[in-house]
């Protein structure tokens, strides 16, 4: 076992500001991303607080309708484009992809650093849009409202999203090239950790989807700036075309959020069940299947927008088919648990939470992809609850679980287990209390994006706001104990979880070059049985 205490690692290899701001080390860039997206997460959460406080009472007494429109718009924009999309790939992926495949860095370190600067530059534009008075179009920027009617700061916000898109494209490009060309000797495709498969599939979506929203949002900005009519029906344009182009990216974008969380879950479930993942090949290929299917289902956002009924029929069938690879994953994780030596450290709690919440989110997705039922629940809180089960219950649970799982690797210190378990429980309870009532209130007919509502919906909304307070505690708690652990945490050692995977075979925190010598791989992923007491 390597001596973690001796020698330099990526954290103490230079302390100056420029040693961070000009770093080409994928691990330091991951930390830069971690700090930036945490700031954006806090900002997005503040907008959510505004929304939930307003919805405590049926009347619009905390904020007016216009302010409320801005709150939910900026909550959506910040959370989707500046937190969820970069969250796992740009932080954990950046840190772990090279380490898991036994490489010294990503293929293009300078492009990696550039992607962070592009992200910050885009975030600056969106911050400007918010400080200048905000945007009220909804995060979907539907035309012609966004291009012709809204009198808020659509152009700087659109440019912010346009710019940030390129950071996502460059990250995806870097991952694809790195995974293809820089695997350690012996590390064949079907020996790769499932985290890598998930990031490969995610990167495909980033490369093939993001440019479409980039050009679309640029057209909206041009339309607004110059008064041309590409999506404005008054000038001959077609607003439905905007919706097609928008969702061509923004539906797959949901898979950019959820696939990496699935990758984290696979790693964590295998580790804390001390078992090889059940059906490795199926889980690996199902990531690619989700990425591919994900590109063919965007029309399910437009069942009531006036698209052809035949197109809607096809989109409905294809949307149902996404359930197949998703279920393959859920059943395989469950089968992995079967007869495993399970222990419930905090990452495992998040992973179990992920499975349950993702399943509810996925099954309610089937409601929404049914043509008839969707007419009833379209644009209600049922939809809001559904996608928060995927994005918050799925993606953020995965991110939190992954952050705890690899925290000892990133910083060489253990987080305190007790508070971490409490935080995981708070997140699970708070989350369900926040969003489960929204399924009910949505099914009863409460539309999304209104600041006032009929009196009979108040109880469910108060429950939801109460849940959000618990959820907020669950998110704040880790901020304290994780920072605490940096100074006072126990030394982690190279492999505190006795996990398989190349990233655990080097010191924590890892040296700048990751490994002392290029590792050689002669076994499949997750050989927990073989490594321990020779029980399967």
């Amino acid at each position: 076992m390597e001596a973690a205490a001796a020698g330099t690692n990526y954290l103490n290899n230079g302390y100056g500001v420029t040693s961070w701001l000009l770093t080409k080390d994928h691990k330091r860039i991951a930390i830069l991303y971690l700090i930036s997206i945490t700031v954006m997460f806090l900002l997005g959460s503040l907008f959510a607080v505004g929304i939930r406080v307003e919805l405590l009472t049926p009347q619009g007494d905390f904020v007016g309708a216009d302010t409320y429109n801005k709150l939910f718009t900026m909550h959506g924009v910040v959370m989707v484009f500046f937190f969820l999309i970069p969250s796992i790939p740009a932080v954990l992926g950046n840190f772990l992809v090279p380490m898991m495949i036994g490489a010294r860095d990503l293929a293009f370190p300078r492009i990696n650093l550039a992607s962070w600067y592009i992200y910050v530059f885009g975030a600056a534009f969106s911050m400007y849009a918010m400080l200048a008075g905000g945007v009220d179009t909804g995060w979907t920027f539907y035309t012609p409202y966004s291009s012709a009617s809204s009198n808020t700061n659509v152009i700087p916000m659109a440019l912010g999203i346009f710019i940030t898109g390129f950071s996502s494209i460059l990250t995806g490009l870097n991952f694809i090239v790195t995974i293809h060309t820089m695997r350690a000797p012996g590390l064949t495709w079907f020996r790769l950790p499932l985290f890598i498969w998930a990031h490969y599939a995610t990167s495909l979506i980033m490369i093939l989807g993001t440019p479409v929203i980039a050009i679309t949002i640029l057209l909206v900005a041009l339309e607004r700036g110059l008064g041309i009519g590409i999506f404005d029906p008054a000038l001959g344009g077609d607003p439905i075309l905007f919706q097609h182009l928008f969702w061509f990216y923004s539906h797959p974008a949901v898979y950019i959020m959820i696939l990496p969380a699935m990758g984290v879950t696979s790693e964590v479930i295998a580790c804390f069940s001390r078992k090889r993942i059940f059906g490795y090949g199926f889980v690996a290929i199902s990531s690619l299947a989700i990425a591919i299917f994900g590109f063919l289902v965007w029309g399910h956002h437009m069942f009531v927008s006036g698209q052809s009924v035949y197109a809607a029929l096809v989109f409905s069938v294809l949307s149902f088919s996404v359930a197949i690879p998703s279920a393959v994953k859920v059943f395989n994780w469950t089968a992995t648990l079967y007869k495993g030596s399970i222990s419930f450290e905090a990452p495992m709690l998040y992973a179990m939470g992920f499975i349950g919440l993702f399943t509810i989110g996925g099954l309610t997705g089937l409601f929404l992809s049914s043509l008839g039922l969707d007419v009833h629940v379209h644009d209600t809180y049922f939809v809001v609850a559904h996608f928060h089960y995927i994005m918050v219950g799925g993606a953020i649970m995965g991110y939190q679980g992954g952050l705890h799982f690899w925290w000892p690797k990133m910083f060489g210190k253990m987080y305190p287990e007790g508070p971490a378990r409490i935080a995981a429980a708070l997140v699970f309870i708070g989350f369900n209390l926040t969003f489960f009532p929204q399924f009910v209130v949505g099914y009863l007919g409460m539309p999304r994006r209104y600041h006032a509502y009929p009196d009979e919906f108040q109880v469910l909304n108060v429950l939801s706001t109460a849940g959000a307070s618990i959820l907020a505690l669950g998110y704040l708690l880790p901020a304290f104990y994780l920072l605490w652990s940096l100074k006072y945490g126990k030394d982690a050692g190279p492999n505190p979880w006795r996990a398989t995977g190349l990233e655990w075979q080097t010191a924590s925190p890892p040296p700048t070059e990751n490994f002392e010598s290029t590792p050689f791989v002669d076994e499949d992923a997750y050989e927990y049985g073989a490594r321990e007491a020779h029980v399967v």
Binding site: L106, F108, P109, M182, P211, I215, L222, G225, G236, L245
Partner: protein
């Protein structure tokens, strides 16, 4: 690396120059894939409106200068030829040829942009610039919005390309590229041909379809 035939240096994250080349090549192809989707949004928009407003698009294409468009197509294909010859010169370590063909590519690319600028200025005189000064039948404005968006985005790619060629010319002059190391020239060639191919689609869609 003073000796051109010694092992070529590679960046620290790679094990060999060969691995570095493989990575760079795949990276460029992946970049071109995202470029196709980037332009793809505009092509889809074009197709939708072409079918919605066939007459307006028909009329619009008659207002484009087919002579200048044809000359520009020839100029751009010519620049792809000189670029291909530049890659060949780099592969065979012919430094003077490399510099010559890169300069020729830059010259042809600039010619294309110059002719494009003349066409654009004609559109201003004819009041065919959507948003700024437009005077024409309804829906033809959509045609010209797409004309400017598509050729404009293409021109931006040409300008970026021209800036990169200038860097390549200086490096070639210093003898950076030779038979053992010519990846940047080759990959820039890929990019340049891609930009050329975009025009090969734009020219018939905007200038030719609907003409007799």
């Amino acid at each position: 690396m003073s000796d051109a035939h010694a092992a070529v240096a590679h960046q620290h994250q790679f094990d060999s120059a060969e691995q570095q080349k493989d990575a760079a090549t795949l990276g460029m192809w992946a970049f071109i894939a995202q470029e196709i989707l980037f332009f793809g949004g505009l092509f889809v928009t074009y197709i939708v409106y072409r079918f919605t407003y066939p007459q307006a698009f028909h009329d619009g294409s008659h207002h484009l200068d087919i002579t200048l468009g044809t000359i520009n197509t020839a100029v751009l294909i010519g620049s792809s030829l000189t670029m291909a010859l530049a890659v060949h010169a780099a592969q065979t370590s012919k430094k003077n040829n490399l510099v010559f063909f890169l300069v020729a590519t830059l010259g042809l690319g600039s010619t294309f942009l110059g002719i494009k600028a003349i066409e654009y200025s004609h559109k201003f005189h004819e009041h065919h610039v959507p948003g700024l000064s437009f005077d024409g039948p309804p829906n033809m404005e959509l045609f010209f919005s797409l004309y400017f968006a598509m050729t404009g985005l293409h021109a931006v790619h040409m300008i970026i390309g021209a800036a990169i060629i200038i860097v390549l010319i200086f490096q070639a002059q210093r003898g950076t590229y030779h038979s053992a190391y010519y990846t940047p020239v080759e990959l820039f060639g890929l990019y340049w041909h891609f930009v050329d191919i975009i025009w090969i689609f734009l020219f018939p869609l905007l200038y030719l379809i609907g003409r007799h």
